[in-house]
């Protein structure tokens, strides 16, 4: 394969540094009561991977059921519980927290030259809230599941099901607060904890993306909290706020729910975009093309993200004139994503590109997110939304953006920063294979679903007409390949913890501040607080830095 920019220290002499944030204290309590943002990030990484594989197993069950037109693998209400749990776990326990809580927690303080996040104790509280939410979800699954879909549509969820809506609601409520505290921590840190010389336009784009996502977390999630409190009151006391027979309006729940749930999809994708800005810049050895445009389009997505929520409700009988307003604003919010894609593409221009695993995942992200983004516009235009909404076109759209976009970016970020987090390199060839397998499996799984969507196959169907079977069989075949693609990283990453090569401080020769210190880093990140005297992605500064080092050692 082509040359690589990987430069590892001489393996015979290289050792993992004696004191680092992992070896500083040991014992379970030192981990469970830590206020070190890096340890909390590792705790998050473990719990998120656990929930990702439960959600993934449920996805496998769904795909197996849809192999045949009849519902024969499991009873229909079991199928309903499986896809509801798949939705709740994947969205609230994986997609919303994954990149911010793991990579964001670990690297934002290091990227801005701070010793820790502004509020370390709140950070730990955020993880505990996440765990309590997770336990409640597991309790819900164990004690009979819930079959309302992750959207909890009233009046179904309040009057017409007798499954555990309350415990799921409480789980989502508590996990919501975990997300609020993470977002709050990031905003305060980015405003107040930057090291000297680190102006806003010298921040890595990773931090800009998390800043935008945190605004959405802080301002959007409380509305979901109140929607769930009202849902719980309606279900227990029957106060009539969403019950049409008592004068309430079920569409009010849709408004409150989607007011959070659309910004939530930007909470999920923006951190992923931040990771892609870092990887594309590092592996083409170039400053990101149009740095300010990419930074401002993140913030533009955050601002516009609040005004588009009713495009989930176009056919639900909201007024035709509100549809005009929300459809127009949806078109506006699609533009910053297009700007970002073209900026990443032009970052490659005149670069010096290498194709390590993070770069392969980033290419996968750029391709799949372009398709995902464009199909979003199909649904934003109110005309075609009539035919395509609530069909498999929607399922394909959000899986392209969430799994093709966010998950690819998460894997790119994990592979890119694994050497910094653990001090060990992962096996390059095997991981490149896993990236390609994931890409192929993904396309085979979700592309047929676009065609199923135009055919009108509805969402959440356990049984479907026979003429849709062939496309569903392709989709299930793709899902098995995708499953293998996702299992591989867990295997070789855990293997690399013990047997991986020693990575050294800056294996990718990247320009971020986090690469200028030892790996795994010290608990206080830097021996002396760095002074930022260069622009964000300054590869000339890096070469001067390395020349100075060689001179001093030589």
């Amino acid at each position: 394969m082509s040359a690589t920019i990987l430069s590892l220290p001489d393996q015979s002499t290289a050792r993992i540094p004696k004191t680092n944030f992992i070896t500083k204290e040991n014992g379970l309590l030192s981990w469970l009561l830590t206020s070190d943002h890096k340890r909390i990030a590792i705790l998050y990484l473990i719990s998120i991977t656990f929930f990702f594989f439960i959600g993934g197993a449920l996805a496998g069950l769904i795909r197996l059921e849809l192999l045949t037109p009849q519902s024969d693998l499991m009873a229909t209400d079991t199928y309903n519980k499986v896809f509801t749990m798949h939705g709740v776990i994947m969205i609230f326990l994986f997609l919303v927290p994954s990149v911010p809580a793991t990579l964001g927690n670990f690297f934002i303080p290091m990227m801005i030259g701070a010793k820790d996040l502004a509020l370390p104790k709140i950070n730990l509280l955020s993880w505990y809230l996440y765990v309590v939410g997770g336990i409640l979800v597991v309790y819900t699954m164990v004690s009979g599941g819930v079959d309302t879909g992750w959207t909890f549509t009233t009046p179904l969820s309040t009057h017409y099901v007798n499954t555990n809506v309350m415990s799921t609601g409480m789980a989502v409520f508590i996990a919501g607060f975990s997300s609020i505290f993470t977002g709050l921590n990031f905003i305060v840190t980015l405003h107040k904890m930057r090291c000297p010389g680190m102006t806003w336009f010298r921040l890595p784009l990773f931090c800009w993306a998390h800043y935008a996502a945190s605004i959405l977390m802080v301002l959007g999630t409380p509305v979901l909290a109140i929607a769930i409190v009202l849902l719980a009151l309606e279900r227990t006391v029957g106060i009539g706020v969403f019950d049409p027979t008592k004068g309430g309006d079920p569409l009010l729940f849709q408004h409150l729910f989607w007011f959070y749930s659309h910004p939530a999809v930007y909470i999920m994708i923006l951190p992923g975009m931040g990771v892609i800005s870092e990887t594309v810049s590092t592996f083409s050895r170039k400053r990101v093309f149009g740095y300010t445009a990419v930074a401002f389009s993140s913030v533009a997505i955050a601002v516009f993200g609040f005004f588009v929520w009713a495009h989930h409700m176009f056919i639900m009988g909201i007024s035709n004139y509100a549809v005009l307003v929300f459809s127009l604003l949806t078109m506006l919010v699609a533009v910053p994503s297009a700007i970002k894609i073209f900026n990443w593409t032009f970052t490659l221009y005149k670069g010096s590109i290498t194709f390590e695993t993070p770069m392969l995942y980033s290419f996968g992200f750029m391709g799949l997110f372009t398709i995902g983004g464009m199909t979003g516009v199909f649904l934003g235009a109110s005309g075609t939304d009539i035919h395509l909404t609530e069909t498999y076109f929607i399922v394909a759209h959000f899986h392209f953006v969430m799994v093709g976009g966010m998950l690819m970016a998460f894997l790119a970020g994990i592979h890119f920063w694994w050497p910094k987090m653990t001090g060990r390199m992962y096996p390059e060839k095997l991981s490149q294979l896993a990236a390609v397998v994931t890409f192929i499996g993904f396309n085979l799984t979700f592309f047929p679903q676009f065609i199923l969507g135009t055919l009108g196959m509805p969402r959440r169907y356990a049984a479907y007409p026979p003429e849709f079977q062939v496309l569903n069989v392709f989709s299930t075949a793709g899902a098995t390949i995708l499953g293998v693609g996702y299992l591989l990283p867990v295997l070789y990453l855990t293997w690399s913890l013990k047997y991986g090569e020693i990575a050294g401080d800056n294996p990718w020769q990247a320009t971020g501040l986090e690469w200028q210190t030892q790996s795994p880093p010290l608990t206080e990140n830097f021996v002396v607080t760095p002074i930022m005297d260069h622009e964000a992605y300054d590869y000339e500064w890096l070469e001067k830095q390395q020349a100075k080092e060689v001179a001093s050692v030589g």
Partner: protein, 253 residues
Amino acid sequence: MSDSPAIAHGALAEAGDSHEEHPAYQRHHFNSVEQQADTTNFAMWLFLLTEVMFFGGLFTAYHIYRNWYYPAFVAGSHQLDVFWGTLNTVTLIASSFTMAMGVWCAETRRKNGLVVSLVLTFLLGTVFLGIKSIEYHEKWEKHHVPGFHYSLQSFINPASDPAAAAYGDKPLALDMARHTELYFFLYFAMTGMHALHMIIGIGILGFMIFRARAGAYTSGHVTFVENFGLYWHFVDIIWIYLFALLYLISRHQ
């Protein structure tokens, strides 16, 4: 709902590993005391934003149902006693004032002044909750608590209920009378959520009085008092809107 301002605790003094000289209450990861004060103040403001959006959902529901069922909202609001409402508003404004004085005393290192104003704020807060419990009890007596065999008696024939008769209300048709349950749901949801925030606030006030007597806040480190002041003033603002929206829909004859 664990939304007590745990942030304020985060900023409490813990002996950080101070390799260079800095006051005891500065946490290790901050470079200076100003940075720490600034950070926790900003964090408190962001936390208040989440509270604003949390109450936003309730205000949205209120605006929609008030437009849809205005007569039911008027009849419902006549059940509330304007006297208690005004007294509560005055109490809460006064407690906001004493809280502000408390912050001033902390900033100017007047220990006794701080303790007195915190105790006054504590008392006014409990007075507020006392009045609230009187009103809730009165609603419970009249079966105006939604969901618990809610009775339409005082709306179908207002003559039987002195509160409604005072305003010469005309009897409501049955379906409009049923919608008064929506009014009382909003009343209990909004004032209940507000009272919950008051109870949490009073709990922290108690803790602060205990620490203030030990002289904790009058030695330069005032962020905890300042942040709690922000929270208390925010709870006061919410009540100012609740009073206007729930009590004063239309009091004229």
